[in-house]
């Protein structure tokens, strides 16, 4: 078998310095194959967000190796990481993080704008992405005019509008009620199955983790357990 899409080798991450230093990750090893749907679980403070931020190239590890398609990400500089983010990754946050006073369509177009796509391409792609998350009718509404579930779907549309290899979602359902949460999960499953996007998702709700085919448990900055989930829908 060829190399995995993502490979973490003995990754550590320390916050703060001296007395206040806190080791959030203490040597994480993890391999993720293309097309997987992985849920990351674990108690609060166990380092889930930290590892997601590292995978999303939003942060850099203290030590260890991070290989993305064989590229040593830990050796990339700030701009190269931004370019990798731009080309291959989509990120969804617990807090949605949409631009205020900006229509859903413009929010979704933003990553394409930074890629320098012409206006027609941007409009078409943004509308297509919004249609995929079921918000074609809501393209001209601003976040303030959308419900939490709708905002998170706009955020997902923004993450997938660039056709990323990997979608990283840090507690995407953390701010939503259970019905909206299930809708979001079904959307993620669909993206994973129909588009072949690799999905990595943090959650502490077992109900949501059940949608994933693999569940990785974090405890105290280490991978504690890595299991298959037989209940999940099979791949493709």
């Amino acid at each position: 078998m060829s190399q995995p899409l993502i490979e973490l080798r003995a990754i550590t991450k320390t916050y703060g310095q001296g007395q206040a230093a806190f080791q959030a990750l203490r040597g994480v090893d993890l391999q993720i194959e293309a097309g997987e749907f992985v849920a990351v679980m674990g108690p609060s403070g166990s380092g889930k967000s930290t590892v997601m931020n590292l995978l999303g190239c939003l942060d850099t590890p203290g030590s260890g190796e991070y290989l993305f398609q064989g590229i040593h990400v830990e050796q990339l500089d700030r701009n190269q990481r931004a370019l990798l983010r731009r080309q291959c990754l989509g990120f969804v946050f617990q807090g949605f993080n949409l631009l205020a006073r900006t229509s859903a369509q413009e929010n979704v177009e933003l990553p394409l704008l930074y890629r320098g796509e012409p206006a027609e391409v941007r409009h078409a792609a943004a509308l297509a992405a919004l249609a995929k998350v079921g918000l074609a009718e809501w393209a001209h509404h601003t976040p303030a005019e959308l419900s939490g579930g709708q905002q998170q779907r706009v955020a997902i549309a923004r993450a997938i509008v660039t056709n990323p290899l990997v979608l990283l979602a840090d507690e995407p359902t953390g701010n939503l009620d259970s019905q909206r949460s299930h809708e979001i999960m079904e959307l993620l499953v669909r993206l994973n199955q129909e588009q072949g996007i690799t999905v990595l998702m943090v959650t502490h709700e077992p109900d949501m983790a059940r949608y994933a085919r693999r569940i990785v448990h974090f405890v105290d900055g280490l991978v504690h357990r890595d299991e298959r989930n037989p209940e999940a829908a099979p791949c493709c």
Partner: protein, 402 residues
């Protein structure tokens, strides 16, 4: 890519119209205030300078009285007589003309119109001394001077008030108890250095004024103009010692008359206006600074929101310099726009105000440029610097910013 950043910046301005408007307002007001103050000050200075130039050669003013200033005592001091004038003409060197003046405030009546003005009884030398030209008519004849005939030469304001657009020549004006024939019209001079209307005047022969208005042979004051190249200090000293001698003042007694150099007075005045301009300019500069602080406030208030926004942009793949370029363009566009509006506003204000104050409007490119670049600098510093700090943060930290 530049186009992209421009697009992003303009979108951001449009999206935050209120914030953009407030930001621009501070700059507009600051820039307009500074330019208006300085331009009006320049106009006032130029106006006084023109008037100094119109005074021609140095003009000395001799008045009876102890000293200048508040509470000066002119009542007890002896007045000048015609003999004093003759003595000055003969004994002081380097004089061009010496004009005695007897002034009196009167009401003038012509037909159904009346007007309050000042009559000055004087000689033809007055025209030389005061740099007056005639717009129409003639000067006093020797005969009229000697006999004290009822003739007068009127200023442009008096003519307008009494005769409107008609020619006043040959008409007569009632001055107190007698009728006076108008033989000449002075060319208009406009406002004087202290804002008085120089054209609101009536001139008649000295004798006429003495006999029919004041009823004495006293002379109110004497105006002396110097030939070009005459040292005014020397002339003033000669004049002073001559008058002390004629008034038989002992060495230990103060002068009971005053000799003033009007050019000096005017120059002092213009210096004062210059100081005022500087002062007003400084006040306006403070307002520009306050405008700048207003901008800073607005920018700082929005920096939390903007830091998160920058975090979002970085997280979805914006490069640091792309975010910076967007913010730079936004800041420059806003402050440049504000600066231009301020300049336009100042232009209109200066045009209106200088017309209102009858001052020349001197467009000053220097102050316009300075104010413009200063405002642009304020916008860039207060808008861009916080954004640069945010763009250098890790995306995660920027997103966490509360």
């Amino acid at each position: 890519m530049l186009l992209n950043a421009l697009l992003l910046a303009l979108r951001e301005i449009r999206r935050n119209l209120l914030r953009s408007f407030l930001t621009v307002l501070g700059i507009v007001i600051g820039v307009a205030a500074v330019i208006t103050m300085v331009t009006l000050g320049n106009g006032a200075t130029r106006m006084v300078a023109d008037q100094i130039a119109s005074l021609g050669s140095n003009l000395l003013m001799v008045m009876p009285g102890q000293r200048l200033g508040p509470g000066r005592d002119s009542a007890g001091a002896p007045k000048f007589k015609i003999a004093d004038i003759e003595a000055i003409e003969q004994q002081v060197n380097g004089l061009k003309a010496v004009a005695p003046v007897v002034g009196s405030a009167v009401t003038l009546v012509a037909g159904t119109q009346n007007w309050s003005s000042t009559v000055s009884g004087t000689t033809n030398d007055y025209f030389v001394v005061g740099n007056w030209r005639l717009a129409a008519g003639r000067l006093f004849s020797e005969d009229e001077d000697r006999a004290g005939k009822a003739v007068c030469i009127i200023g442009n304001t008096v003519k307008k008030e009494l005769f409107g657009n008609q020619s006043p020549l040959g008409s007569s004006i009632r001055v107190k108890t007698f009728d006076c024939e108008v033989i000449g019209l002075l060319a208009a001079k406009g406002q004087g250095g202290m804002g008085q209307d120089q054209d609101d005047t009536v001139l008649m022969p000295l004798r006429t004024a003495q006999r029919r208005l004041t009823g004495t042979l006293d002379i109110g004051n004497v105006m002396v103009s110097l030939k070009d190249g005459t040292n005014s200090t020397v002339a003033m000293a000669q004049l002073r010692s001559l008058l002390r001698e004629r008034r038989k003042l002992a060495d230990n007694v103060d002068d009971n008359f005053n000799v003033m150099d009007t050019k000096q007075i005017a120059e002092t005045l213009s210096g004062t206006i210059g100081t005022m301009t500087a002062l007003l300019g400084a006040v306006a500069a403070v307002s520009l600074l306050v405008g700048g602080i207003g901008i800073m406030n607005i920018m700082l208030v929005s920096v939390t929101e903007r830091t998160r926004e920058i975090g979002i942009r970085l997280a979805i793949g914006a490069l640091e310099h792309e975010v910076l370029l967007q913010f730079l363009i936004e800041a420059v566009a806003l402050s440049a726009f504000g600066g231009l509006v301020g300049i336009a506003l100042a232009f209109v204000a200066c045009l209106g105000l200088s017309a209102l104050m009858r001052m020349p409007f001197l467009f000053n490119p220097g102050i316009n440029l300075t104010a413009f670049f200063f405002s642009a600098a304020i916008g860039v510093i207060f808008g861009f610097v916080p954004a640069r700090r945010a763009a250098r943060l890790d995306p995660i930290e920027a997103l966490r910013h509360e």
